[in-house]
């Protein structure tokens, strides 16, 4: 009798694995949204020297449950002039690609929906499908602010997709596989990919912030410009599904990709003895990145739309192209060792981070000159 993982018959293990993987995905996404909203509010409160929710339940832990229950019991408004079918379908179109992404994300050794050999391609394809639902939501709402928000989102997501995928490709070049399982397996031990490829990690993380509409790139929902962006016409649980479940689910997916590609996925102390410990390591790593995203959100102000686009097209995409050129050349030149790639990548990180102040200083000089030129002559004389 053949013995599968954990000493279980493969015939029993196959459906069992699927049930565990689906259960974990649903648990991480649905409960994760509740937990993440609570964390978001609490962490922002702490950073802003406030207390945050604490009256509802112990430490305010029941706050998001109350919010969810309220959203479910809220009236579902659909204006007469909306495009009926699309308006109803848009939340599902935003939600489904996010949920489908979990098929290939490995929680632990052998606990994965399916070991797709084009896993990373599948993930990037689903990641770009979200924009479809957002544009449909903006169009079907028949509201100018919703449409503007949807189109902005389309522009932003399509632009930031390019550096994101270019960063992923350099990992694939080094590892030599698109399968998420193989990528995780290649990082056994302390030598995780982030030590070899820190530069693509930096590019991916910045692009992922824009991809998930997080601050400082939350232009599609900019309150001060577009009422609530593409979500303007949605109320009740439809809004809750779109914003809470999909946005936070997307954040979780992106953090899971970062964890798998650069930080060794389920790998951690003790996983060889107890394989299920991998779920814990994976979740902890994912939540570490979610907390970093929340920290960024509480720290940085929102960009302008032209700054957003110029940062992507003039900053990130050239950087990603340089990165892929360097990684591909060194991978061809030194097929046996990864050390040259690591050195080159760290040098690129230092150049990128150190170059930002120079660019910023030049920008400020231009802005000051422009302000002086437009000032009144008397002001110009003293400035």
């Amino acid at each position: 009798m053949p013995v599968g993982p954990f000493g279980i018959d493969p015939l029993i293990w196959a459906p069992l694995r699927l049930i565990i993987a689906v259960g974990l995905a649903l648990f991480l996404v649905l409960n994760g949204a509740l937990l993440q909203i609570y964390l978001e509010r609490k962490i922002q409160a702490i950073i802003q020297d406030r207390l945050g929710p604490y009256h509802v339940g112990p430490f305010g832990l029941l706050q998001t449950f109350a919010d969810a229950l309220k959203l479910i019991s809220k009236e579902d408004v659909r204006a007469a002039a909306t495009d009926g079918w699309f308006f109803v379908a848009a939340p599902a179109l935003v939600f489904c690609p996010m949920l489908a992404s979990w098929v290939v994300l490995p929680f632990a050794q052998d606990i994965v929906g399916t070991n797709l050999n084009i896993g990373l391609l599948y993930l990037t394809t689903l990641g770009s499908m979200t924009v479809l639902g957002i544009v449909i939501a903006g169009w079907a709402s028949n509201n100018k602010y919703a449409l503007m928000g949807g189109l902005r989102s389309a522009g932003q997501l399509i632009s930031y997709e390019i550096p994101q995928i270019l960063a992923l490709v350099s990992v694939v070049l080094v590892v030599g596989s698109l399968s998420m399982i193989d990528i995780t397996r290649s990082q056994a031990g302390p030598l995780v990919n982030v030590l070899i490829l820190p530069f693509p990690f930096l590019i991916y993380f910045i692009a992922a912030l824009a991809e998930t509409n997080r601050t400082p790139f939350d232009l599609p929902e900019a309150e001060s410009e577009l009422v609530a962006g593409w979500l303007t016409e949605y109320s009740g649980m439809r809004w809750g599904t779109m914003l809470a479940l999909s946005e936070y689910g997307n954040v979780t997916v992106v953090c899971a990709i970062v964890t798998t590609l650069w930080f060794g996925g389920w790998q951690g102390p003790g996983v060889d003895a107890i394989p299920l410990l991998g779920v814990l390591w994976f979740t902890l790593k994912v939540y570490a990145f979610i907390l970093i995203m929340m920290w960024i959100r509480a720290t940085l102000p929102r960009l302008r739309i032209d700054q957003l686009m110029s940062f992507c097209w003039k900053g990130l995409i050239p950087a990603a192209l340089v990165n892929i050129l360097v990684v591909a050349t060194l991978a061809l030149a030194f097929p046996t060792t990864k050390i040259p790639i690591a050195i080159a990548s760290w040098v690129l990180v230092v150049l990128f981070v150190a170059g930002i102040p120079f660019v910023q200083r030049r920008r400020l000089r231009v802005l000051r000159a422009r302000a002086r030129a437009s000032a009144a002559p008397a002001v110009r004389a003293v400035s």
């Binding site: 509010r41 409160a45 802003q48 020297d49 406030r50 207390l51 945050g52 929710p53 604490y54 009256h55 509802v56 305010g60 029941l62 706050q63 449950f65 109350a66 919010d67 969810a68 229950l69 309220k70 019991s73 809220k74 009236e75 579902d76 408004v77 309150e223 009422v227 609530a228 979500l231 303007t232 016409e233 949605y234 109320s235 009740g236 809004w239």
Partner: protein, 212 residues
Amino acid sequence: MGDSDATPAQAKKLNRLNTMAIDEKPRARPIDFEEDVIQRRPVTTQAGMGTADVTAPTPGVLANDDNIVFTTVNNLVNWARSRSPWPLGYGLACCAIEMMAASMSHHDTARFGMEVFRSSPRQADVMIVAGTVTHKMAPRLRRLYEQMPEPKWVIAMGNCASSGGEFWDSYSTLQGVDTIVPVDVYVPGCPPRPEALIEGLLRLREKIMKGG
């Protein structure tokens, strides 16, 4: 409660400030809110306040006490609604500054889960009308109210929104926002302090809890 009803001991307590010698120090003890803040008010205004309203809330059809099936869910939903009333950011005048201050670090309405100011009426529960409503703004206010999904509540914040206030009998100002939308809670003041707004929000929470 009038002066004649108070016993001598109570009257002495009420007028403790008047009977104290000018160099006498009050006894060192922790501040008691009831005695030190409420009872130290002048007796005349105390008498004018009247007694607390002890009328029990009238149970609705679904909030029936002997109705086992609906009562629990109703209570749960009311609890959820009362614990997350998201306000519509609707600042019209100086009251808006106090409304902002109520959600900032000092007063922090986030403690009650009320800091989520929604800019779209579709996602809001409570409309805090913070400021003077002109006749030009009135139709917009009514439209925004109608765009909010049920259940929805209105807080009239400040004297202007409650009754016209400073702009009483003005040719361009609405004499109280309750002339165009149903108001649940009035918060008086010009402008009311953030504490007053929080008190109003908590009163609204009680009202929602009772099925309002």
